[in-house]
């Protein structure tokens, strides 16, 4: 016992129990007596101290056993602080009656907000809009990306430079894209309208109709993200061993058959991956719609992501927005797992 207590009081970098005890005393004291700005940093310092003693101890004794865990610890810490903690916190809020811009403290509401959100016709309308956009834009991206990949799988002059050019849209920021397409579609100055004017003598107002606005958004999004699909498919195409094609050529296999028997199995999983990524991203589509149409005309292009933004940050109906956001998160997780399941099953078949 005495040995243990003397060990406890030894000032060592590896003595984490002492550091923890010190932190337990210092943090409440700091919070209680000091201004919040100072207490915040002292708390941070104390936590850092505890963590570093733990690290030093683990590094000293069980270096091998814990090395992996230690290496990912900083990343996990950041993930926890920046992502998981707010996620759990807002999950909690979705069961409470709370508005971020009111003084009233949260009161427990159970599943009320989930019920409200699910029975809200506006939510279903926005989901419907989102579904249309997802189907259109993902289809367009898959087709265009796939065709581009087939094109770039061959060797031709200037291929490398053209490839870089084709990849640029995906590297642009959404805001730049939005501003760019806003001007592109603008009926007075815009390139599209000016071109139509040249051909027909009439200006063209794309964003006036619901169909036009939808088309404008889908085109902009597909323009930006088709190169991404292309990049994935292309990596699959170039990985097909040449000798398979040579063998096929000797067997005089038709190009159609050659594609399905040789090429497709190599790119199938990549196509699925592209489909998965793009569907999830398109499901969350916000930026382009917000910049191009603000959800208009009326609410005909308002995606569910924009609606969540409105109820969270314009109406400050915090509980509704968190409940809705969790339903969406759940949907995305289900979608992800569905695709992964299919992807795995296909992989097993081949």
């Amino acid at each position: 016992m005495s040995v243990r207590s003397s060990e406890f009081f030894t000032l060592r970098w590896s003595n984490w129990p002492l550091a923890l005890a010190a932190a337990v005393v210092v943090i409440p004291l700091a919070v209680a007596t000091l201004p919040s700005g100072v207490a915040f940093w002292i708390t941070g310092l104390a936590v850092a101290l505890v963590v570093s003693t733990l690290v030093v101890r683990a590094a000293g004794r069980h270096a091998r056993r814990y090395a992996g865990g230690l290496l990912v610890a900083p990343a996990l810490a950041v993930l926890f602080v920046m992502n998981i903690f707010p996620l759990l916190w807002s999950f909690g809020l979705s069961f409470y009656n709370y508005r971020a811009n009111r003084m009233a403290p949260p009161t427990f509401a159970g599943l009320d907000y989930y019920e409200r959100v699910v029975s809200d016709p506006t939510v279903w309308d926005r989901l419907h809009t989102t579904a249309i956009i997802v189907v259109l834009t993902v289809t367009a991206q898959m087709v265009v990306g796939f065709l581009l990949a087939l094109l770039f799988a061959r060797e031709f002059p200037l291929r490398r430079y053209l490839l870089i050019l084709v990849l640029t849209p995906m590297m642009l920021s959404y805001v730049a894209m939005g501003a760019f397409f806003r001007y592109y579609y603008e009926p007075t100055f815009g390139l599209l309208s000016q071109t139509v004017l040249l051909l027909t003598g009439e200006r063209y107002v794309l964003l006036q109709s619901t169909v036009g606005a939808m088309a404008g958004i889908v085109f902009a999004d597909a323009w930006m993200w088709s190169p991404f699909v292309m990049l994935l498919v292309l990596s699959g195409l170039v990985s097909v061993p040449k000798y398979l094609y040579e063998a096929a050529a000797i067997d005089r296999v038709s190009p159609w058959r050659r594609f399905w028997a040789i090429t497709f199995p190599y790119i199938r999983s990549l196509l699925l991956l592209a489909l998965l990524f793009r569907t999830i991203e398109a499901f969350k589509l916000f930026d382009i719609v917000f910049l191009l149409t603000e959800g208009g005309p009326g609410s005909s292009t308002e995606t569910i992501a924009i609606y969540v933004y409105r109820i969270a940050f314009q109406y400050f109906r915090t509980s509704d927005s968190t409940a809705l956001a969790y339903i969406l998160l759940f949907t995305v997780i289900v979608l992800t797992n569905l695709y992964l399941y299919f992807a795995r099953q296909r992989a097993r078949e081949t």
Binding site: R12, W13, L34, F189, S193, A213, G296, G298, F316
Partner: protein, 479 residues
């Protein structure tokens, strides 16, 4: 390494604790440095304020007070301010706030009620007495039009008309217009002040020209349009114009001052409201085609005007400075200003000019220390003193203080000043209640459907009325 002892670290953290504590206690009793951190939208009226403050503000307390504005671009402004306030970071001591946000942020406990300071200070009472009542009600009160005071005018703003004098005053255009419409095409500011919506329509029809046509003696290298007003989907960019027509025709929005007995249904979608909205919609065809897309916000009409594509535009005074500057405007030397159009139903009747007030008050925050509040109030008093207001007006701002804008010199400061005072009596504001954003967004969406031709005026207003009625009932604002 594991052997390094803890004392160093413990001592270091102890030092930090002591230093932190001492920092709060050991300040000299005189000539303190005080920083007023203020959230402001980034545009000329706030830039001018910062410039004036740096140049000439000396705190009467003897403290060294610095104004530290955080310039935030307009389109992000609400989101950024709301995020800062609701996050609890308590970053700002003051903020420039659109008047319709008052309710939301007062209920949130962020904006400070200033009645007790006003009651204790005759100088502040004098300021409020001198303030135009419409501006006082719009910028300072919550609930709207009560005696609870929260803000001071930072940049009071109203809609005025911007027009091209080279186009309107051209002799050939004058002659052709007279031949076609049987009355004189206005040229001077005084003539232009008399513009009615019928005349507005005529300007629109008359000046709509194709590329290659002649305008004021010159061949056009691109299409040209007669008129524009805001009719955009975002924020309040169609509501402003719709309310202008609504009030001028004699209709009204849901009246929060008469809650809980006032209603939205029957008011918002009354026959006169439908008529006024149809009137507004009928003018869109004389505007640049972007008006049909919901993209016609104030920034777009301002841009079209500065690019020389418009003869006449209705917009906030806040944009005037950029319209006059050769660095930002192709028509800097051709722009003139007059009052916004009004409604004249009969030749013998007076013009009705009701309009949606723009501009912003600034407010104090509830978490300020007493000392900061005193300095902030002293700053507000300096800002609303006659000399500062005159300097502000000369630099491109506006003053809502009677003693300033009734000064005969006032109209000589900037070319739009003459349109200011006569229109002040005609200003109203929309709701200050915390639910304003939901009321507003529904309007913007439904108006947009009518503006883009998806549905008619009646359907839009019926939908809005039902939505607002339900929302206000659910929120407990009406019975």
């Amino acid at each position: 390494m594991a052997r390094t002892t803890l004392p160093t670290l413990a001592a270091a953290s102890l030092c930090a604790v002591l230093a932190g504590a001492a920092g709060g206690l050991t300040a000299p009793a005189y000539g303190k440095d005080i920083v007023l951190r203020m959230a402001v939208p980034d545009w000329p009226p706030t830039r001018i304020m910062k410039e004036l403050a740096d140049k000439s503000y000396k705190a009467p307390s003897g403290n060294k007070v610095t104004l530290e504005p955080d310039f935030i671009p307009w389109p992000d402004y609400y989101t950024r301010l709301a995020a800062s306030l609701t996050s609890g970071e308590k970053k700002y001591n003051m903020a420039v706030s659109d008047s319709q946000w008052l309710g939301a942020f007062i209920e949130g406990g962020y904006y400070l009620k200033i009645n007790k300071y006003v009651d204790a200070d005759p100088a502040l009472q004098a300021v409020f007495k001198d303030l135009h009542p419409a501006v006082r009600a719009a910028y300072s009160t919550y609930p709207y039009k009560t005696d609870n005071l929260y803000g001071f005018p930072q940049m009071p703003d109203i809609l005025v008309s911007y027009y091209r004098k080279d186009v309107f005053c051209d002799e050939t255009e004058q002659k052709n217009f007279m031949a076609k419409y049987k009355y004189k095409l206005p040229c001077t500011g005084e003539e232009m002040d008399k513009t009615t919506w019928d005349m507005f329509r005529d300007y629109g029809e008359f000046f709509m020209r194709k590329k290659g046509d002649t305008l004021a003696g010159k061949a056009l290298d691109d299409d040209f349009y007669g008129v524009a007003f805001q009719a955009g989907k975002a924020y309040d960019f169609s509501t402003t114009t719709v309310h202008q027509f609504l009030w001028q025709h004699g209709g009204d929005i849901w009246d929060e001052t008469k809650a809980p007995n006032s209603h939205a249904v029957g008011v918002v979608n009354s026959p006169v409201a439908v008529k006024s909205f149809e009137h507004m919609l009928s003018l869109l065809k004389y505007m640049p085609p972007v008006a049909k897309t919901g993209g016609m916000d104030v920034f777009k009409t301002d841009e079209l005007f500065r690019e020389g594509k418009l003869a006449y535009n209705v917009n906030w005074i806040g944009f005037a400075e950029t319209g006059m500057s050769p660095a930002t405007s192709k028509v800097s030397d051709k722009v003139a200003f007059a009052q916004a159009p009004g409604l004249k139903t009969d030749k013998d009747k007076d013009m009705v000019r009701w309009s949606q007030i723009g501009g912003q008050p600034f407010v104090l925050m509830t978490w300020n220390s007493e000392e900061t509040n005193q300095e902030a109030l002293a700053f507000c008093k300096w800002w609303l003193s006659k000399d500062t207001q005159i300097a502000f007006a000369k630099g491109g701002g506006q003053s809502a203080l009677k003693s300033v804008y009734t000064d005969p010199q006032y109209v000589t400061f900037r070319p739009w000043n003459r349109a200011w005072a006569p229109q002040l009596d005609w200003q109203k504001d929309f709701w200050h209640v915390p639910e304003f954003f939901e009321l507003l967004t529904e309007q913007q969406e439904q108006y947009d459907k009518a503006i883009t031709g998806q549905q008619d005026a009646k359907k839009s207003l019926d939908t809005i009325a039902n939505f607002q009625e339900k929302l206000l009932k659910d929120a407990g604002r009406i019975k």
